[in-house]
């Protein structure tokens, strides 16, 4: 076997290369040849093919994602925006927070435990790479129907994987979502988010500069993980005798990652790091080309120096391996010894594999021969960009015309009662504590709020009480009915959730889960969702700081519901002022904030009672959301409310049940004059929340709402151990508790 060196490639232009097997299109392969002025070597082909994949290059989504930058609202809070491993936001007192949500959907379907575990590992490395200490994780999840046998395989594995990895890493899990819908049957969505905290001066970027600086690879040894593509390359073209039995599944080692966190933070603290990049998708191909591309010079890498777990790996495989728990740092020569010492202290393998050069090429050597010689920008940042055709699907009109107004509604108190119990016990509305109790909420000793609360909240400065809140939301049903407004509803809900805890929403990250971009209908959903989100963020003044796109979530012709998941980060000056959801004080007054309209299309009620999806989602009024948020934040700061719960899926009655059960107190509720009891209880109108107000604060609170023009309606009082809706029905808390809490363990326990 001859090594496919740059020289060899130049002399053998006609060799057949497996570009198609590696997922490149003919034009893309031609472009690589054009860029290089010759055919690529096997190693170069490996790099271009992974870096130009949809996952790494965003080739279908780029043209739309630009709007997040173009429409970005004016803000002083953004320290690092889109384009880095994660965005960074100023939260005051010299602190900066970085956060991001990512998907690990497909791997989690193949191997739920490891897929989900390595999803957490990946997002956490993005946070470390910014210079921050990770302080919490969240996990927005979507599965097929709860009672489908495959869901019993996937869900417990995913939950155990997220817990197994996050718990072992010492990161409190403070929020997330669990949604069941048969559209996710073959395509569960496993999104994972993380937050990190640092001082402003500790921000680090993925960039290699300063000729002579050393490139250090540290963490796990490189094995044959996740390189299906490279084995095609290795076996079919270059060495037919070699078995192409490389695992596509990556196994996580959270213990190794914990060491990686500690040793990286120690190196940051001693100012040893010039640039840093985590190794995720596309492994070394990505890390070396991105570092070099973002930096000022070139880079030279000796691939022989990469520590291997499997000595039989070919250079192509080493470049493509997705072995977990690895990082790449650029370090000044005189600091290398100290860096290696810190790694040694933490028992982390670390090796100098190359250096920054004053040229502008990325050159990679193997056994002394040059096997890669590229302009790193062409690999990392100048990949193909597609303007995929998109078109509003014909069925959209029919779907929107199929309004929930035609569905039979409960006719009396008894029927309402029955439907309330059915709703709060349905898999989507039921308590998820069987899942969340498998996650550590307490580790690090700074958790102020964790699930089930409207948002998770972490104290970041014990002295001042400064804290951050994070909520994630997405409603695929609404987005299916109207992707533009569906995305805005996800944003509005997440924003409202943050405000409900008393934190001021600051910035947004998102994870856009869609079907195949090659389907114009899906592409339309995608374009609409981004337009909606970008417009919404502009209006709310919360910039998108980063995120992730997951396409091809579909089985055959059937795509998942378009599912933009939106994470909103908020800040609170003093966590002592946070507002929980629990109704804990008897005698406090319950107020409903906002307007309730007859909006049941796409609702949880329509799904649970009628298995129906059609019509238009609830109206979006972002100015109202902003006003509601201001009121919730002021009320929390000034001690006017003791509990708050935003209204979303399941409407008012769902919120009441959750707040009552959490606090162990009942409520007496009166349907406002002239209102329809069913609509009052089940409508999913946006821009609403229910709050519990101490009697002493009633006037001050209602005056404030009145003065600012927010509709406020007294709907009852915290009382007893029954949820009593006067003149309609009454349900003991114990019965609600059974309905709400036994569903999930009943299916998965």
């Amino acid at each position: 076997m001859t090594l496919d060196t740059v020289k060899h490639a130049a002399g053998t232009p006609d060799v057949d290369q497996p570009w198609a097997e590696l997922g490149l299109k003919q034009e893309e392969y031609e472009r690589v040849r054009e860029i290089l002025g010759r055919r690529p070597t096997g190693a170069e082909l490996a790099m271009y093919s992974v870096m130009w994949s949809e996952h790494c290059s965003y080739k279908s989504s780029k043209v739309h994602l630009r709007q997040f930058g173009e429409k970005a609202p004016e803000t002083d809070a953004l320290l690092v925006g889109i384009g880095e491993n994660a965005g960074v936001v100023d939260v005051g007192n010299g602190y900066a927070v970085t956060f991001k949500v990512e998907s690990h959907n497909h791997p989690s379907y193949v191997e739920p435990y490891q897929g989900a575990a390595t999803g957490v590992g990946g997002i956490v490395r993005d946070i470390i790479a910014m210079g921050a200490r990770p302080v919490a994780v969240v996990d927005p999840l979507r599965f097929g129907a709860a009672d489908h046998p495959d869901t019993k395989r996937v869900l417990p594995g995913v939950v155990a994987g997220i817990g197994g990895y996050g718990n072992c890493l010492g990161l409190p899990n403070i929020g997330g979502e669990v949604v069941f819908d048969s559209c996710y049957q073959g395509n569960p969505l496993v999104n994972a988010g993380a937050i990190g905290v640092m001082r402003h001066e500790d921000i680090h970027l993925a960039k290699a500069s300063g000729a002579g600086n050393k490139v250090i690879l540290y963490g796990a040894r490189t094995g044959g993980d996740g390189i299906g593509g490279a084995s095609i390359l290795a076996s079919e073209t270059f060495d037919d005798s070699k078995p192409s039995k490389r695992p596509a599944v990556q196994v996580g080692d959270p213990f190794q990652e914990k060491l990686l966190i500690e040793c990286t933070l120690e190196a940051f603290a001693e100012k040893l790091v010039v640039g840093i990049q985590d190794l995720g998708a596309a492994g070394l191909s990505c890390a070396t080309s991105e570092l070099a591309s973002n930096g000022s010079g070139g880079m030279r890498v000796e691939l022989d120096d990469v520590p291997l777990r499997d000595s039989t790996l070919s250079p192509e495989e080493i470049l493509m391996s997705e072995s977990q728990e690895r990082m790449c740092a650029v370090v000044e020569p005189e600091k290398v010894d100290r860096f290696l010492e810190i790694c040694e202290k933490w028992d982390v393998t670390a090796t100098v594999i190359g250096e920054v050069t004053d040229g502008d090429r990325l050159e990679i050597f193997w056994h002394g021969e040059k096997i890669v010689d590229v302009d790193p920008r062409t690999v990392a940042h100048e990949g193909p960009v597609y303007e995929r055709p998109y078109a509003r699907p014909e069925w959209q009109d029919t779907l929107q015309a199929d309004d929930a107004a035609k569905l039979a509604r409960p006719a009396n108190g008894d029927e309402l009662r029955e439907q309330v119990l059915k709703l709060v016990g349905s898999p989507n509305q039921a308590s998820k504590s069987w899942i969340t109790s498998q996650y550590d909420h307490f580790v690090q000793g700074n958790t102020v709020l964790a699930s089930p609360e409207d948002s998770g909240m972490i104290r970041i400065d014990a002295e001042s009480g400064l804290g951050v809140a994070l909520a994630t939301d997405g409603n695929g049903r609404f987005a299916k009915l109207d992707p533009y407004h569906g995305a805005q509803l996800a944003l509005a809900e997440s924003y409202r959730n943050v405000a409900a805890t008393g934190a001021k929403p600051l910035a947004v990250s998102d994870c856009l889960n869609f079907g195949s971009p090659e389907d114009p209908a899906v592409m339309w959903q995608f374009a609409e969702a981004i337009r909606g989100l970008a417009d919404g963020c502009q209006q709310l003044g919360t910039p998108v700081t980063g995120g992730n796109v997951s396409l091809y979530n579909q089985t055959g012709e059937a795509a998942i519901h378009p599912t933009p998941v939106v994470a909103v980060l908020g800040v609170i000056d003093d966590v002592a002022r946070r507002t929980p959801v629990a109704f804990a004080e008897e005698g406090q007054l319950l107020y409903l904030l906002g307007d309730t309209r007859d909006e049941l299309s796409g609702s949880a009620w329509a799904q649970v009672i009628h298995d129906h999806l059609g019509g238009l989602p609830p109206e979006v009024d972002l100015e109202r959301e902003r006003l509601l948020a201001e009121i919730l934040i002021s009320a929390s700061r000034d001690g006017m409310i003791d509990a708050a719960h935003d209204l979303s899926d399941g409407g008012l009655v769902q919120a009441l049940v959750e707040s009552c059960l959490k606090g162990g107190k009942g409520a007496r509720v009166v349907i406002p004059d002239g209102q329809d009891p069913f609509v009052t209880l089940f409508s999913e109108s946006a821009g609403r929340a229910v709050v519990s107000v101490p009697r002493s604060e009633e006037l001050r609170f209602t005056d404030m709402c009145g003065a600012r023009g927010l509709p406020v309606t007294r709907i009852g009082v915290v009382d007893g151990d029954v949820l009593d809706v006067q003149g309609q029905f009454s349900i003991p808390l114990s019965e609600l508790r059974t309905a709400h809490e036994e569903t999930i363990p009943g299916i998965f326990g």
């Binding site: 969340t436 109790s437 996650y439 690090q444 000793g445």
Partner: protein, 226 residues
Amino acid sequence: MTARIGVITFPGTLDDRDTQRAVRLAGAEAVPLWHKDKDLKQVDAVVLPGGFSYGDYLRAGAISRFSPVMDTVIEQAKAGMPVLGICNGFQVLTETHLLPGAMLRNNHLHFICRDQKLRVENAGTAWTADYTAGQEINIPLKNIDGRYVADERTLDELEAEGRVAFRYLDVNPNGSLRDIAGITNAAGNVVGLMPHPEHAVEPLIGTGRTDGLGFFTSILKKLVNA
């Protein structure tokens, strides 16, 4: 003069910084100790905090037990130095045989994180003097290998000698024999338990209760009055 309380960090320890904070909140000085050092830096007592040292690979606590620092801890504990093992720290203490029995996978096989009610059965140890015997406290529990087992003879002996220090109330969260949540050695200086007192020391954080602070005030008083 206040007491110096060492908090050991093994690779994979997670609750070391929280434990240091709890020690400080109680008014003592927290001294970080590193697993590779035999030297205990003249501390008056040692806490082995929670976490997943060495990833809990092989068995929880099995690899840490052989750290250099543990040689000294074992020696000093036998000489009477107060030692508290929380969660993973408790697992390490059983692996060293400073405390009898062993910790196994929870009977339901899941990691569990919950507010756990306990009864303080023995208020005479170095770490529980600020509680009263029979007092009920509520502190977080979080583990996957929390099922305490020992043979019948050992269990009977523990009961007879009052060495069951804490018992689970309301729910046995993991199948521990005789609802045992924590135990002490015969001298009362070495105590181990699965739940986490260091996560219940501030009113706002975690469960919002401060029922765990007593562990740290108990030891402080004992050391300062000694």
